[in-house]
Symmetry: C2
Subunit: 263 residues, 2 copies
C-alpha cells in the first residue's frame, strides 16, 4: 500500500466535489460514412467534439476519447480539445487500451502527455502493469487498467485462471499492489453482480472504477454506484453525444447517477 | 478450415517470392528528446521514415509501424508513407495492438484502411478474435493476433489457463478456427523452444507468424525460421533504422534469415 494517492485519483476526487457529478462522457466521433447508426451530422470531427465538450461541461467531470475514433487527427487538434476540456474544469482520458512492450508503452505515454491527457487506459495482456504504472506516474499521468470488460465476448477475463484465481481478479490484485489509478469494470447487465462483489473486495479503498457500457450498450450503473460511490466514473457515450440535446441528456444521467450514490 | 486463403497471406507469399526476403522492418521513430538511446537524428519523423523506407526496400518485404510512435501524425502523412511503401513493392502493417469492443474496433479498422495499411495487429484480451477478423476481412485487411509476446513480463499468456490449455494455445486455436492471417510470436531467447513447438503444432499450415524481438531485443530467429519458413515475417527495428547504414543492415538480416529457411 502506498502512503500517497496517485495524483490522478486526487484530481478526480476534487472535480467530483466541485462538479457534483460522476459522469464521464465518451466522445467518440464517427463519420457519416463510417457506419449506419450513431454518426455525426458533419465530417468535421473537431468542431463536433468542441461543441459537445461545451454542451456537457456543467454536468460532467471527465471526457473520455477513444483512440480508435481519433486516428487521422494531428497533435495540435488533440491539444486544442484537451485545452478546452481543462478550461471547462474537466479531466481528460485517452481510451487507448495501451498494451505494448515497455519501450513502445513509453513512447505512447510520452505522446499522451504532449497531447494533454490526464490519464489513459491500459490493457494488461502483455503482463506489464507494474512497468506501465511507473512510466505513467513518472509523467504524472493516471493509468486505468482493463479488468473486467463490458463486451459480451470478453470471456477470457472470467474463464482464464492463474492458479485458482480468475484472470480479472489476478489483474485486480496487480492493480492494487502496483498503485494504479483505476480499473475498467463493466456495468451490470454486461457483467454479473457476483463478479463485481469480488472485485469490490479485492480493489481496496482508493482505486477508481471506470464503467463503460451504460446507455447504448445497455448496462445499468445502479449497483456499481452503490458499491463504489464517488470513486466511480460512469461513461456514457453514444446516448449523449448523438442526442438532439446533449446538455439535457448529460444532466439526466448526472442526476440519475447521483441518486444511486450513498457516500 | 476455410477453402480460401485470406488475401493478406496471399499477398505476403507473392512478395516473399519477388523480394526473396522475410525481413519486416519495424519503423518506430523516437524523437531526440523522447528517450536516451535509439533516437532519430532529427525532429522530422516523416522525412526520417521515408528515407528508411527507400533505404531498406531492396531487402525488405514488409514495413511495420507501431502506433505508439505515430501519435500526432495526421492522415495525409501516414497515407504518404504507405504510398511510398507500396511503390517500393512492400506491404505495410500497423502495429496497433487493437483490442477494443466491436464498435470501436470497427472504427479503427475503418481508419487503418483509409491510412493505407494492409494489415494490423490485434490484442485478443477482449475475447473478440472472430468478430475482429470478420471486420478486418470485410475491409480487405489482414489481422495478426498477439499470441505469445516477446517481452519478459508477458507471463499471463503462458501461466493463465482456460480448461487445461494455456492461454496462448487457446488463442492459437481461435486463430486457426477463425481464419486469421497471422500470429505474433516472440523469437527464442525471449520465448521457449517448447512453447514454439506447441504453437507450430496448433497453428495449421497457412497462418503467418510475425516475430518481434530480434536485434536490439535480443531474440534469435533461427529456430522459428526453421519451423515456419517463408510463413515467417521477422521484424527487426532499432538495429536497422538507427544504424549508420540501414540498407547494409537490412541486407545482412535478409541474408541471414534466408540461410535458416529450409523450404
Amino acid at each position: 500500500m502506498s502512503a500517497e494517492l496517485p495524483s490522478f485519483i486526487q484530481k478526480y476526487k476534487n472535480i467530483v466535489e466541485s462538479k457534483k457529478s460522476v459522469l464521464c462522457v465518451g466522445l467518440d466521433p464517427a463519420l457519416p460514412n463510417q457506419r449506419n447508426n450513431y454518426v455525426m451530422p458533419t465530417l468535421d470531427r473537431i468542431s463536433f467534439m468542441k461543441e459537445i465538450i461545451e454542451e456537457v461541461s456543467s454536468f460532467t467531470s471527465i471526457i473520455k476519447m477513444n483512440r480508435q475514433y481519433l486516428i487521422g487527427l494531428n497533435l495540435e487538434q488533440i491539444q486544442g480539445l484537451n485545452d478546452l476540456i481543462h478550461k471547462q474544469g474537466m479531466l481528460s482520458i485517452i481510451d487507448h487500451k495501451l498494451g505494448d512492450i515497455g519501450s513502445s508503452n513509453d513512447s505512447a505515454i510520452f505522446w499522451f502527455r504532449k497531447e494533454g491527457f490526464d490519464a489513459f487506459t491500459h490493457s494488461p495482456f502483455a503482463g506489464n502493469i507494474k512497468e506501465a504504472t511507473l512510466a505513467a506516474h513518472e509523467r504524472d499521468l493516471g493509468i486505468i487498467v482493463l479488468t473486467l470488460m463490458s463486451n459480451p465476448e470478453a470471456i477470457i477475463q472470467k474463464t482464464a485462471h492463474i492458479g485458482s484465481s480468475p484472470l480479472y481478479l489476478f489483474i485486480a490484485q496487480q492493480c492494487l499492489a502496483n498503485n494504479v489509478d483505476g480499473c475498467v469494470v463493466g456495468a451490470t447487465g454486461n457483467v454479473e453482480f457476483q463478479n463485481l462483489s469480488k472485485l469490490k473486495a479485492t480493489l481496496g479503498h482508493d482505486i477508481l472504477v471506470l464503467v463503460p457500457g451504460v446507455g447504448a450498450q445497455g448496462g445499468n450503473a445502479e449497483e456499481i454506484l452503490k458499491m463504489f460511490g464517488k470513486r466511480t466514473m460512469v461513461n456514457v457515450g453514444r446516448s449523449i453525444i448523438y442526442s438532439p440535446n446533449p446538455k439535457q441528456e448529460a444532466e439526466k444521467f448526472c442526476k440519475m447517477f447521483n441518486k444511486y450514490i450513498n457516500d
